[in-house]
C-alpha cells in the first residue's frame, strides 16, 4: 500500500517537474502581442502597448535603468512601453535575417547599407513610411531634410528613417610619425613614398612588422590610394572597377594589367619582408598591433573615428610615440560623406503598432530628454556636461553606460550631440574633408544577387584559395598565379556575375539620373 503511494507520488512529482520546466519563467516574450489590433488609432492614445525595439550589438550594463527611465517618459507622452532588445555581435547577420523572416512582432529595427537595407527593402521586409510620417511623426518628417528622405527611397518608397548627422568613414593610412622623424623617412602619401617608408621601418626596426593588416586587407587600402573608385571604402565586389568620374563605365580590375602590376608590388613587398610569413593566419587586429608598437602602418579600415581612438589609446600607454594619418580622399581628390542609408531605423512588416513605433522614434530623435538618456545615459550618474563637452563619470570599467553605449548611431541628432573633448581632432578632419566633399552615388544602389547566388558562393571560395596568397605575395610566379585564379574564377561563374551586376548598376544609374 505504502509502496504504491510512494510510486504514485514520484510519478506525479516527475510530471510536475517536467511541466514546471516547460512553463518556467515565461517572461519578456510576446510583449507586443497584447497590442491594440486597431490600426490608425493614432489620435487617441488607446490602450498601452509594448514596443519591441531591436538593435545590433551588445546591450550596455545599465540598460535596465535606462529602459525604465524611458518607459516613464513614454508612458506619460504616448502611453507606450519599450523593450530594448540586442542581438549581440555573434552571428548578427543570421539573426537579423531570422528576425525579419520569422514574422515575430518587431516594431523598430536598425538598418544600414552593411545590413543590406536595400535588398531587404526591395524584398518587402519593411513597411513603407510615406503615408504614416505626416500623421504619426510630423516633427520627425520635418527634422530630416527632403534630399535625405529621397536618398533612402527604394522603388520610390521610404522604408527607413535616416540619421541626419553627417560623418565620414573614408579610410586612410595610419602610421608611426615618431619613427618617421627618427629615421628621416618620407611621409607615406603615395605608393612610392609608402614603399620607401616601409623600407626604412624594415631596415631600422627589424623586430617590427611594417604592415599591420591581416587577411590581405591591405589591398582595399591600396586601391583607395591609387584610384578614384566610386565607393568610399575597400574595393568593389567581384573584382569590378567603377570610377567616380565615369560611373557608367564598368571594367574588370581582376585580370587587368593594373591588377598584375599591383600583385607584383605585393610580391616585392613580401620579399622585402613587409608582411609576416604567416600573414594569412594572423588573428590580432591591425589596431592592436599598431597600438602595441608591433607594427608601423595600418592601410585599411582606418577611418577618422578609428584613427582617433588609436591616438587616444597610444597617448595613454606610450606618450612618447606619435601617430599620423593620411586620408585617402586627399589622394583621390574628393571625399564622400556617408550615405543617409548608412544609419537608419525601419519598421518591419510584422509590427503590430507601426504608428506608435514611429511616434516613439520621433521622440527618440527630436526630444532631448529621450535622446540624451539613450545616447549618453543618466546625467550625473553616467556622464556630465563640461563646457559643452561630454565627460564620462568614472571610467569604462566602472561606468555602466559609456558614450553611445546603446549603439545609438541612427538616432543621433546634431542639435543635441555632445562630443568628448578628444573628438575635436575628428571634427577637424571632417571639416578638411568637407572642403572636397562630393555626394555618394554608390550606396543608393541595391544589388540583388538572387540571379547569381550559387556563383557568388563559389567565387568567394575561389577568391580565398587562389587570390589571397597572391595578395600577400606568397606565389612565386605571379603571372601564372593570376592566370590560374582567373581561370578558376571563370569556372565559378565570374563572367555571369559581372555581367549581371553591371546590368543592375546601369539600370540604377538610369533611374537615379546619374551620368
Amino acid at each position: 500500500m505504502r509502496n504504491k503511494t510512494i510510486r504514485h507520488l514520484s510519478l506525479v512529482l516527475a510530471l510536475m517537474l517536467f511541466a514546471g520546466v516547460l512553463a518556467a519563467c515565461n517572461n519578456g516574450s510576446g510583449g507586443s502581442t497584447q497590442g491594440s489590433e486597431q490600426g490608425g488609432a493614432s489620435e487617441s492614445k488607446g490602450e498601452k502597448v509594448t514596443l519591441q525595439f531591436y538593435m545590433l550589438g551588445d546591450a550596455p550594463k545599465d540598460l535596465p535603468v535606462i529602459e525604465s527611465e524611458i518607459n516613464k517618459l513614454a508612458e506619460a507622452d504616448l502611453n507606450v512601453n519599450v523593450k530594448f532588445n540586442y542581438t549581440s555581435w555573434t552571428d548578427w547577420d543570421q539573426k537579423y535575417k531570422l528576425l525579419l523572416s520569422s514574422g515575430q512582432p518587431i516594431d523598430l529595427i536598425f538598418t544600414a547599407d552593411w545590413t543590406f537595407y536595400q535588398s531587404y527593402a526591395k524584398k518587402g521586409a519593411f513597411l513603407p513610411l510615406d503615408e504614416m510620417l505626416p500623421t504619426a511623426a510630423p516633427a520627425l518628417k520635418a527634422h530630416v531634410p527632403e534630399d535625405m528622405w529621397n536618398a533612402v527611397k527604394i522603388n520610390d518608397k521610404i522604408y527607413t528613417v535616416p540619421s541626419t548627422w553627417i560623418e565620414y568613414v573614408t579610410e586612410g593610412i595610419a602610421y608611426r610619425e615618431d619613427l618617421r622623424e627618427k629615421y628621416n623617412l618620407p611621409k607615406p602619401e603615395s605608393l612610392e613614398t609608402l614603399e620607401a617608408y616601409l623600407e626604412g621601418i624594415k631596415a631600422n626596426e627589424p623586430n617590427m612588422i611594417p604592415i599591420a593588416d591581416s587577411n590581405a586587407n591591405h589591398t582595399h587600402g591600396i586601391r583607395q590610394l591609387t584610384s578614384k573608385l566610386v565607393n568610399t571604402a575597400g574595393q568593389l565586389p567581384y573584382g569590378l572597377d567603377i570610377m567616380y568620374d565615369s560611373p557608367s563605365t564598368v571594367s574588370s580590375y581582376w585580370g587587368s594589367a593594373q591588377h598584375l602590376e599591383d600583385l607584383k608590388t605585393y610580391k616585392r613587398w613580401m620579399d622585402k619582408g613587409f608582411f609576416p610569413k604567416n600573414v594569412l593566419n594572423v588573428k590580432d587586429t591591425s589596431n592592436s598591433l599598431l597600438q602595441n608598437g608591433k607594427a608601423a602602418v595600418v592601410l585599411s579600415g582606418e577611418n577618422p573615428n578609428k584613427f582617433n581612438a588609436d591616438v587616444i589609446k597610444v597617448q595613454s600607454t606610450h606618450p612618447d610615440w606619435k601617430l599620423a594619418y593620411f586620408p585617402y580622399p586627399n589622394a583621390k581628390g574628393f571625399a564622400q560623406p556617408v550615405h543617409p542609408i548608412h544609419n537608419g531605423f525601419a519598421i518591419p512588416r510584422s509590427s503590430k503598432n507601426p504608428e506608435k513605433a514611429l511616434a516613439f522614434y520621433e521622440k527618440l530623435v527630436t526630444d532631448k530628454r529621450y535622446n540624451w538618456l539613450t545616447e549618453y545615459g543618466v546625467e550625473g550618474k553616467n556622464f556630465e556636461v563640461d563646457n559643452g563637452y561630454y565627460k564620462m563619470v568614472g571610467d569604462a570599467q566602472t561606468n555602466g553606460f559609456p558614450r553611445e553605449g546603446m549603439n545609438g548611431w541612427a538616432w543621433r541628432n546634431p542639435e543635441f550631440m555632445l562630443y568628448d573633448k578628444t573628438f575635436d581632432d575628428v571634427l577637424t578632419m571632417f571639416e578638411d574633408l568637407d572642403k572636397i566633399k562630393k555626394p555618394d552615388i554608390f550606396t543608393g544602389f541595391a544589388e540583388d544577387w538572387t540571379p547569381y547566388q550559387a556563383e557568388k558562393a563559389a567565387l568567394e571560395q575561389v577568391e580565398k584559395q587562389y587570390l589571397y596568397p597572391l595578395n600577400v605575395g606568397l606565389v612565386a610566379d605571379v603571372e601564372a598565379g593570376l592566370n590560374t585564379f582567373m581561370e578558376k574564377a571563370k569556372q565559378a561563374g565570374l563572367e555571369k556575375i559581372q555581367a549581371e551586376y553591371t546590368k543592375q548598376w546601369q539600370e540604377y544609374l538610369k533611374s537615379a539620373g546619374i551620368q
Partner: protein, 309 residues
C-alpha cells in the same frame, strides 16, 4: 607462413612473442604519450597565456611558460564577477535540470521502444530516426520556438530543445535491449509488477552504465551550448557561460572585419589576449575536474554496448 611447426620453433616463437609484445607496448605507449602531449600543449599555452601580461603576448606571441608573469587577465575577468557568475549559474542550472530531465525522457523512450510487446515500436522508431535524415532547417525551427511556443528569453528554451536527441534515444534503446533481458521483464510481470515498477526498479538499475554515458553526452551538450543563447536570449543576464565567452570573442572579430566599411566605433572595452585566455581557463575548469570521475562509467558504458551488440 604455412610451414609445419616443431617444438624447436615453438620456443622460438614464444621468445619472439614476448619480444613482439614488448615492442608493441613500446610503440603503443610512445604513440599515446606523443598524442597526449599534443593534446596538452595547446592547453598549456592557454594556461601560460592567461598568466602573461597582454603586452608580452602581442609583442612576442605565446610561450609555454609566461615570460612576463602577471595576473591582469584574471583581474579583468573578475572585474565584472556578477556577469561571469550569473552566466555560470545559468549554465549549471540548465546542465543539471536538462541532464536529469533528458535522462528520464530518453530512458523511458528507449525502454518503450525496445519492448517487443509494443505494437507500434517500429513506426515510432522510424519517426524518430526520420528526423535525423530530414531536418526542417534553421528558419522553421526558429519560428516554431519563437512564435508558436513563445520561448524567447526563457530558461525553458535553453533546456527544452536539447532534451531528446534521436541519436541518444537510439543508443539508449540498444543499451536497454542488451542490458535487460526480455525474460526478466516477463518474470517481473508474472510477479505482478506494472510497467512503471519494472522501469524504476529493474531497467534504471541495469542500464546504469548506459545512463552514465548518455548523461555525460547530455551534460557536455548543455555545458557547451551557446547557439541557443545566441538565437533566443536577448537578456544578457540569461546568457549561458559559453555564449558569454564566445560573444566577447566575436565582438573583437566584428570590430576587426566589419568596422572597416561601417565606420562603427564601439564604446565598450575590448578584452585583451590574456583576458581571453583567462576566460577560457575559467570556463573549462569545472568540466575538467568533473571528467575523471565520470570517465570510468563512460568507458564501461561504451564497452557494454560494444560487446553485447
Amino acid at each position: 607462413m604455412n610451414t609445419p611447426m616443431n617444438t624447436h620453433t615453438r620456443t622460438n616463437t614464444r621468445l619472439r612473442d614476448s619480444e613482439f609484445t614488448f615492442m608493441f607496448q613500446l610503440i603503443a605507449y610512445s604513440v599515446i604519450i606523443i598524442l597526449s602531449i599534443m593534446c596538452l600543449l595547446p592547453f598549456l599555452l592557454i594556461l601560460s597565456g592567461s598568466f602573461s601580461s597582454n603586452e608580452s603576448i602581442v609583442r612576442d606571441g605565446y610561450h609555454l611558460f609566461p615570460t612576463d608573469f602577471s595576473l591582469e587577465g584574471y583581474k579583468m575577468v573578475f572585474t565584472f564577477p556578477t556577469k561571469v557568475l550569473k552566466a555560470y549559474g545559468v549554465t549549471v542550472f540548465t546542465t543539471v535540470v536538462g541532464t536529469t530531465l533528458g535522462l528520464f525522457l530518453i530512458t523511458m523512450a528507449g525502454f518503450v521502444l525496445q519492448r517487443k510487446d509494443f505494437k507500434y515500436r517500429n513506426t515510432f522508431s522510424f519517426f524518430i530516426y526520420f528526423t535525423t535524415l530530414f531536418g526542417g532547417g534553421l528558419v522553421p525551427w526558429y519560428i516554431m520556438l519563437a512564435n508558436y511556443f513563445n520561448l524567447m528569453d526563457t530558461y525553458t528554451v535553453l533546456i527544452f530543445p536539447g532534451l531528446m536527441t534521436p541519436f541518444l534515444i537510439i543508443l539508449m534503446k540498444n543499451f536497454i535491449r542488451s542490458a535487460v533481458p526480455d525474460e526478466l521483464i516477463e518474470s517481473a510481470k508474472i510477479d505482478g509488477a506494472n510497467d512503471f515498477r519494472i522501469y524504476f526498479s529493474i531497467v534504471l538499475k541495469l542500464a546504469m552504465p548506459g545512463i552514465a554515458t548518455v548523461g555525460l553526452f547530455l551534460a557536455l551538450g548543455y555545458w557547451n551550448d551557446w547557439f541557443t543563447s545566441s538565437l533566443f536570449i536577448n537578456n544578457p543576464d540569461m546568457y549561458q557561460l559559453q555564449f558569454y565567452l564566445y560573444n566577447t570573442m566575436n565582438t573583437i572579430t566584428f570590430i576587426d572585419q566589419m568596422a572597416i566599411g561601417t565606420g562603427i566605433t564601439l564604446s565598450q572595452d575590448v578584452p585583451t589576449e590574456s583576458t581571453k585566455m583567462a576566460m577560457a581557463i575559467v570556463v573549462t575548469g569545472p568540466i575538467l575536474f568533473l571528467y575523471p570521475f565520470v570517465q570510468r562509467y563512460f568507458v564501461k558504458g561504451l564497452t557494454i554496448g560494444a560487446v553485447k551488440g
